[in-house]
């Protein structure tokens, strides 16, 4: 119980630190998807020994990596225009990668736990995919839910998963 409270507290802190940093990403609203307007990279890491790598070749690509914990690695490669990729990892020894080749693609990887590994590869245009992985399992989510933050209340309900 105490452990769970600590986890929630740490996630809340992460949410506070990262708040407002993802505005460069694309977004969904009632009118549909709005691609990023400018090339942007946002890498936020806390803990120790985390590694992040982002490569963008083209205009208006947006990439964000948030990692909290120990020895997590995240890698994003984007070639084309107006691609949107997000990696969020909380825990230890997790590994995530996203590769996008084309235009207007949306992808995300969310991992909470230890020794998890997930990747998304998109080749084409207008593709959308998300992966959420915890010790309980892996779940595919639609790209429109990629903007949601796991640290926010109701996240797991929104994506239809019982939690981590």
């Amino acid at each position: 119980m105490l452990n769970a409270r600590l986890k929630l507290a740490s996630l809340a802190m992460i949410a506070m630190v990262g708040a407002g940093a993802a505005e460069a990403q694309g977004r969904y609203d009632r009118y549909g998807y709005h691609a990023p307007k400018a090339a942007a990279v946002d890498v936020q890491q806390s803990g120790r020994g985390n590694g992040a790598a982002v490569s963008q070749d083209g205009p208006r690509n947006a990439a964000a990596i948030r990692q909290d914990g120990v020895a997590n690695t995240g890698m994003i490669n984007q070639t084309g225009a107006a691609n949107d990729a997000t990696i969020r990892q909380y825990g230890k020894n997790n590994d995530a990668s996203i590769s996008q080749v084309g235009d207007n693609n949306v992808a995300c990887v969310v991992q909470v736990g230890r020794n998890l590994s997930a990747g998304v590869v998109q080749e084409g245009s207008g593709l959308s995919a998300g992966v959420v992985q915890t010790k309980k399992g892996s779940y595919a989510i639609p790209g429109r839910l990629c903007a949601l933050d796991p640290a926010n209340r109701g996240y797991w309900n929104r994506i239809g998963v019982k939690g981590y």
Binding site: V17, G18, A21, A24, A38, A39, A40, V41, D42, V43, Q44, Q45, S46, G47, R48, G49, N50, G51, A52, A53, V54, S55, Q56, D57, G58, P59, N61, I65, Q67, N72
Partner: protein, 177 residues
């Protein structure tokens, strides 16, 4: 006496006339370049005694004139491009770290490509960010090429290198660390 005077005057006349003949050759269009091939062919043979004495300086002058020619052409072009374009890496502190914004400013409408490489290392982890792509800058416009934001814990270091290419060559570079 008269004979000797006559002989002397004859010799002088001959010398003057041969010098006068040699003078056009000393223009040495012949040696200054291929622009005057006809003159080159018209030149008397080198064994001509008159030429030997007359213009020994000219051949040395011609190459120097040729060597001088390209000097004024090349440097101004380079300076012109550099003066008409500038690039910078703006660094802003944010609540969560640092924001790196590469910007370009052109004094005339310009299109090109940029590449930005950022490496960050610290206790929290390391980050490698590479961005690149095309850009268009209107006359006098200040264009933000991209933004990169990353966390900077205490003791962390970063280095950002911006390179801008236009017209098939690098026109600007900025390094911040």
């Amino acid at each position: 006496m008269n004979r000797s005077t006559l002989l002397l005057s004859a010799l002088l006349l001959a010398g003057c006339s041969s010098a006068a003949q040699g003078a056009p050759n000393t223009a040495i269009a012949t040696q200054s370049g291929p622009d005057h091939p006809a003159a080159f062919h018209d030149a008397p043979p080198a064994s001509d005694p008159v030429l030997d004495g007359a213009p020994p300086i000219v051949p040395a002058v011609a190459p120097s004139a040729v060597a001088r020619a390209p000097e004024p052409v090349a440097p101004p072009v380079v300076q012109k491009v550099q003066a008409r374009f500038s690039c910078d890496i703006d660094i802003d502190r944010t609540s969560s770290g640092i924001r790196v914004t590469p910007v370009v400013r052109a004094h005339k409408t310009l299109s090109g490509e940029y590449s930005l490489v950022i490496t960050k290392s610290g206790a929290g982890g390391s980050s490698d960010i590479s961005q690149g792509g095309p850009f268009d800058a209107a006359h006098g416009e200040r264009v933000r090429l991209s933004t990169s934001e990353f966390s900077m814990e205490r003791g962390a270091k970063f280095r950002a290198v911006l390179k801008v290419r236009a017209g098939g060559r690098e026109v600007c570079r900025d390094i911040v660390s």
